[in-house]
């Protein structure tokens, strides 16, 4: 009984960490994407419209990042205490970038008509945060040097061509999410322009997904073994097929009059990439040495946190849905609330 509990509990915790991170990537992904696209919409009225389309949501979206980080600390203190020092530089870069991006939501309106610097802060903050997150994914796949349960590598170990590519890939991916969101939520010039951007972004993202899928098993043997050994190959071949189907669906959504389908397709691409990442990495939380069972906290801590999550996350999801429902529909040029 205890043995099964000790086996399942860390798995469940891993699932919760994964879900929080996935929620974050999807939700904050589209509002970071809007920041990434900001420079390509030069008119003030367009930028107002873009920002208004996410202003009621961004803070709630970012909360999932805190939940993911805290869950990692709660359930896997060992992994947390290895990953955070190992990814020190991109993590701090991301946090500072999020400072600029976050305050821009309020400061930009207060500063008007001298808001240009906050336009730049919003765009640069969003882009740097997205790039840093991508490099962290790359750094995680690269793995960390661990000695005696502590990170034993250098401050720039995470910086490799592979992680830089992951960084660029995530910027492109978020930009696609942002473009699909704008197609869905705005009208007029912004919608038209976003539609024009979305297709090349989709193609570039697919190219990145293919590139990373080929590169990872070539560089990391454990990943190759996971994907290509025995029956795994058969079962896991579903992943690229689903990816292709989602990409096609997103493309068709952009062609037709159903922007929601395009947005869902882009979200689907993120979900399936995330699943692929999990397949490549698990059961390691800090590859190539620390598994989720080795990193797990005391069962008492995980159980307590799990009870809270089971009770409160449905509420959080409920009022998140409520707010999205309240601010549903398209936003028109010139509409704002500040």
């Amino acid at each position: 009984m205890t043995a099964t509990y000790a086996f399942w509990l860390p798995l469940i915790s891993t699932g919760v960490v994964g879900l929080s991170v996935a929620m974050y990537v999807i939700l904050d992904g589209f509002d970071l994407g809007i920041g990434i696209l900001f420079p390509y919409f030069p008119q003030e009225i367009e930028r107002d419209q873009m920002m208004n389309s996410v202003a009621p949501f961004w803070d709630g979206n970012e909360t999932w990042l805190v939940l993911g980080g805290v869950w990692l600390l709660v359930a896997f203190p060992l992994a947390y205490s290895i990953i955070t020092p190992a990814l020190y530089v991109p993590l701090i870069a991301m946090l500072l970038a999020l400072v600029f991006r976050g305050v821009a939501f309020e400061f930009r309106w207060v500063a008007k008509p001298h808001h240009r610097k906050w336009d730049i802060a919003f765009a640069a903050g969003s882009t740097v945060a997205a790039f840093a997150q991508g490099t962290m994914v790359g750094g995680l796949l690269n793995g960390f040097r661990v000695e005696a349960g502590q990170f034993a590598g250098g401050p720039l170990d995470w910086l490799t061509p592979f992680s830089v590519m992951c960084g660029v890939g995530l910027v492109v991916g978020y930009a696609l999410l942002g473009a699909c969101w704008l197609v869905m939520k705005t009208s007029g010039g912004v919608e038209k322009e976003a539609r024009r951007f979305a297709k090349p972004l989709l193609l570039t993202l697919v190219a990145f997904i293919v590139l990373i899928s080929v590169w990872t098993p070539l560089q990391f043997e454990r990943v190759a073994v996971r994907w290509f050994s025995g029956r795994n190959l058969l079962y896991l071949s579903a992943v690229p097929l689903i990816t292709a189907a989602l990409a096609i669906s997103c493309w068709r959504g952009l062609e037709g009059r159903h922007p929601t389908i395009a947005f869902n397709g882009a979200v689907g691409l993120f979900v399936i990439s995330f699943v692929g990442l999990a397949i490549s990495t698990l059961p390691y939380l800090a590859p190539p040495s620390i598994t989720l069972w080795e990193a797990a906290a005391s069962p008492k801590s995980q159980t307590f946190m799990l009870v809270g999550t089971t009770v409160f996350v449905p509420f959080a999801l409920g009022y998140t849905a409520f707010v999205y429902h309240t601010f549903r529909g398209k936003i028109r040029p010139g509409e704002g609330y500040h």
Binding site: N52, A55, P56, D59, G60, E62, T63, V66, L67, G69, V70, W71, L73, V74, P77, L78, Y80, S81, I82, T84, P85, Y88, L91, L95, L96, L98, V99, F100, G102, V103, F105, E106, F107, V110, A111, Q150, F151, A152, P155, K185, A297, S298, K300, S301, F304, M305, G308, T309, F312, F315, A316, Y319, F322, T326, F327, R328, G329, R332, E335, Y337
Partner: protein
């Protein structure tokens, strides 16, 4: 071993980032409650000026809240980047407390914030008012958990230590650890008090300038009322908190009081320059027996002095001693501000006494200074431990090098100084602009009707 310079920089980094941070949540806790109160009053009385004041302070709250959010997220990650061995030792206990803060408070406040800020005309008034109340409640719940976590670091309970790692045994005792009820009451009162002073100061300024008279009088009345009640109450809460600290962290109290030797009835040191190495006070001015009266409620009262603790277990006395005096001194000023205002009010002269209004105008930052001084007292007083009796600060750091910590410290200082100074400047501009400036026509971000029209 950890490089002592890196350790020092890591401590400066945490001290700096958390000090900048605490200013904004303290104001957000107070201002969200203020706005919620105004909106409830507006619904009850139908009096429009409450609505105008609420709208005005909502804008200020929003700017402050955004700064609180973005300065708070780095803290939860700094626990890992710079303090990974602290996280390893205490993560099992501290982690879930922060986790519950996210689950029960952050989602509540961040989600309903959207409706509170942007839902003025989009949702029915009752729902908008409810959202404002929920945001205020969220900030309180947030305070509950983070102060439970901090209090556990001061007075740990409900756990066992295995191989240097604290493992929770009894969550109720972890959360309601000995100093928690006192710290929670003291800090929440401080947040409401500080915000009330800001409201009072803004009201006084408009009255002196002859602007927005109706709104200004309401702000001044509400501000004075709150300060007159919370100021004296805070004196009582602070005293109780001190007695609790004497019981559980006697070395901290000895440092706060500059009390070196337990040789007779304890004096109250009014001023001194504590000398850590020489183990004595320089330039001391003290009142005999008063220290015993305050801390033991007995003229012959005695309590442990710093020399009763090994040198290695004593906190740095000088900063704790002075920070405590700054906090307590401001406390006295605030009580004076509140009671004088209440007296003038009872005489019907509150709105016409220019010297009082002028003094009040300058009082807006002192609550924040008291909060910072109070936190410096309690956090520095906890040294040399980061979690009292469990982990020493010198053993809590990550295996990161001097260059890494130094670079990130410089980055934090630069970014925070630029971003948050500008933010405070914007808040100042909003306050100076007054309620009328917040009266620009408001439109909807997007209308449900427009969706309906498409279908």
């Amino acid at each position: 071993m950890v490089d002592p310079h890196a350790l020092l920089l890591a401590r400066i980094q945490f001290g700096f980032t958390i000090s900048v941070h605490i200013i904004f949540p303290a104001f957000s806790i107070g201002s969200s409650a203020f706005v919620a109160t105004l909106l409830v009053l507006w619904r009850r009385t139908g009096s429009d000026h409450y609505h105008r004041i609420a709208r005005f302070w909502t804008k200020i709250f929003a700017v402050s809240f955004a700064m609180g959010v973005v300065s708070g997220i780095p803290l939860s990650y700094e626990l890992g980047t710079n303090w990974s061995r602290y996280s390893l030792a205490t993560g099992n206990v501290i982690g879930p407390l922060i986790g519950y803060e996210v689950l029960t408070a952050f989602f509540l406040e961040s989600t309903f914030l959207g409706i509170m800020l942007f839902g003025w005309t989009r949702v029915p008034p009752w729902l908008h008012v409810t959202s404002a109340v929920l945001v205020a409640l969220g900030t309180m719940i947030s305070g509950f958990w983070i102060l439970a976590a901090n209090s556990w670091m001061q007075t740990p309970a409900g756990h066992i230590v295995q191989n240097g790692v604290a493992i929770p045994v009894d969550w109720f005792r972890v959360i309601f650890n000995p100093s928690f009820p006192y710290r929670f009451t003291h800090m929440m009162t401080a947040a409401y008090l500080t915000t009330s002073v800001v409201v009072l100061a803004a009201g006084a300024r408009y009255l002196l300038q002859g602007k927005f008279p109706e709104e200004a009088r309401t702000m001044l009345r509400m501000g004075v009322g709150m300060v007159a009640i919370l100021g004296p109450a805070q004196l009582f809460f602070g005293d109780q908190h001190g007695l609790n600290t004497l019981e559980h962290q006697p070395a901290k109290i000895a440092a706060m009081e500059g009390h070196w030797e337990n040789t007779g009835p304890a004096a109250l040191v009014l001023f001194a320059i504590p000398d850590q190495e020489g183990e004595r006070n320089r330039a001391e001015i003290a009142i005999p027996r008063l220290g015993g009266l305050i801390l033991k409620h007995d003229l012959n009262g005695r309590y442990a002095g710093l020399k009763d603790f090994p040198k290695a277990d004593r906190p740095p006395v000088l900063p704790v001693f002075f920070a405590f005096r700054i906090m307590a001194g401001i406390g006295v000023l605030l009580i004076t501000l509140g009671l004088t205002g209440a007296y003038l009010w009872s005489r019907g002269k509150l709105f016409t006494t220019r010297w009082y209004l002028q003094a009040a105008t300058y009082s807006w930052p002192i609550g924040f200074i008291a909060i910072l001084a109070g936190w410096i007292t309690t956090e520095t007083g906890r040294q040399p431990y980061v979690a009292y009796g469990i982990v020493r600060t010198e053993n809590a750091m990550s295996p990161v090098g001097l260059a890494t910590v130094a670079t990130s410290l410089i980055a934090f200082v630069l970014v925070y100084t630029v971003v948050f100074s500008i933010g405070i400047y914007y808040i100042r501009r909003l306050v100076l602009g007054g309620p009328k400036a917040a009266h620009a026509p408001e439109a909807l971000p997007n209308r449900p009707l427009s969706l309906g029209a498409q279908e």
